[in-house]
Amino acid sequence: MLESVQGRAQPGQLPRLRWALLSNTTQDPLRPLLTQLSLEIGFAADVWIGGYDTALQDAAAPQCADAEVVVVALRLQILAPALVDRFLTLSAEEVRAESQRALDYVSAVAAGVRQRSSALILVHNFETPLHPALGVIDYGDVAGQVNTIRRLNLDLAEHLGGDQSVFIVDLDGIRSRLTTPRFEDPRTWHIARVAYTRQAMRAIAGEYLRVVRAAKGRSRKCLVVDADGTLWGGIVGDDGADGVRVGRTFPGSAFYEFQQALLALRDRGVLLALCSKNDRAAVDAVFATRAADMPLRLEHFAAVRVNWVDKAQNIREIAVALNLGVDSLVFVDDNPHEIALVKELLPAVHTILLPDDPVEYRDVVASCDLFDALTFSDEDRRRSEMYAAEQRRRVEEASALSVDDYLRGLEMEAAIDRVDDRAVARVAQLTQKTNQFNLTTRRYTDSDIRRFAASADHDVFAIRVHDRLGDSGIVGVAIVRHESAVSAIDTFLMSCRVLGRGVEDALLTACLLTARRRQRRAVIGEFVPTAKNARVADFYRTRGFAADGPDRFRRSLDDGPLEFPSHFKSVVIDGQQVAP
């Protein structure tokens, strides 16, 4: 999690870092932890700890005025014990008053510190109880204990938010990220008013260091990623651009999510760079032909080095190209040899070896706490405000919204295409995997699908859906066999994750259209019952088909318009817009 000690310098030669801890609990056990963690990022810590529950007075102490980092760690249990221990005995008015008192005290301590210094001020907020006063119903009660403390935390952030050098230390967040089960230690609390376990204190100190690292310009600014086995599964040189695993469904979905996590870092302002041992053309081919399966684009990378030169050399060049020191880089690879090489040749680069299981990749990157920045530009802030407003609108409107409005609001776009080489594998996989929304449950292999696609009297359609929330990829398949007078739907299936959005109707209309274009008089639909597909037994009957024998249905094409569901923003068949 933290960098190695910079060089082998003795604490005496390192720059000093003065800390002041103001608290209403015992902070002494934090001293060795803070000293150790400061040393790991190259500072000799000098930790001053104020008196027990004298934070307001300590804020005026010279040791506090001299400190570069001041921690204000006030525990609600001491500040407003009734809110913690006897919440239900308080009236609404008393809850408000107690909350206000706690808020005023913390604010006064922070203001007292600020009056005398320009230090970074790290303010603990309040833990919500693990076992709240009202039990299981507490969370749903806006006046319950948990929501009262959450509101208090929100008020605290609002109160202190105007000061760019005040940072909130979120104890609930630290508690939930802790890998050991215990956060509080009742033994040390009773014996010495030490609230947290050592592991928890280490995590809390680690959180302080995130702010310090950023303030001292030691945050990392660029993430360098490998390609094969990292951005996608498999090796593009062996498997081809079509064969590498990435997309919306398992196992490619693990890589898809990992790419999303990389993009989220980019949204925060972290630069991405690509460093892969490959032929450039092979990597370009993946980005060109698998664009629908990947959120990342080549343009998202600020620097790209794809060649057969060793990675340490490439990483050095990336640093130069981006005008960064190598100590601003984090390097991620699935190959332990590459990691070892970079560690050896460029020890200042922070390296991350990806775990064996790709589904774990996302968290490895998301939990990397080396990229913190202390500011977020005004423009970024405005954007997040717009998002927040949009979110509120959605919550307010949700109850008044009809299903049709909702569907319209999704701005769905459907693309229905005859399968090509790239889609064959996914289409075959859907015929093999889909059980519930599958009218005939005929299982086909890749070569079966290729045979249908090549045949003059078959159409194999794959439907892909894109909406405001993202791309769902190929979610439905229809195989239509054109006989002399009629067309028969051999296969009709839908992935369950798009049901209820009219996608099946769009695909069915496409089947009817193709039959009409070939001048067939009617379309025949079949239902082959299985243990799992009962939900679609009435599919054809409810869509203008008439019974035509047991589990066989017929829809005449003589007259009447063939319409696509009106809520689609667009429907495109083989590149031609057919609706609206």
Binding site: D28, P29, T188, V194
Partner: protein, 76 residues
């Protein structure tokens, strides 16, 4: 175990290891104050992967008491 325990005591009580002997008690050792005591107990728990009760935490106030408590947990 003696060397390891001596080392842990030396670090936690911030004393040279040569001054750590098996007759050491908190009462007679100026460095063995309540804060260092707490650090010592937490360090022992982490190092030996044991957990003491609140009562024990208080009573581990001599080298012998610590050695006994560890021995009772099978750490000779």
């Amino acid at each position: 175990m003696n060397d390891r325990l001596r080392h842990i005591l030396g670090v936690a009580l911030e004393m040279p290891e040569q001054q750590i002997h098996d007759k050491l008690t908190a009462e007679e050792t100026s460095n063995w104050d309540s804060i260092r005591h707490l650090n010592l107990v937490m360090e022992l728990e982490e190092q030996f992967n044991v957990r003491f009760s609140s009562d024990e935490m208080i009573r581990l106030n001599s080298y012998q008491a610590i050695a006994d408590a560890l021995a009772a947990r099978g750490i000779a």
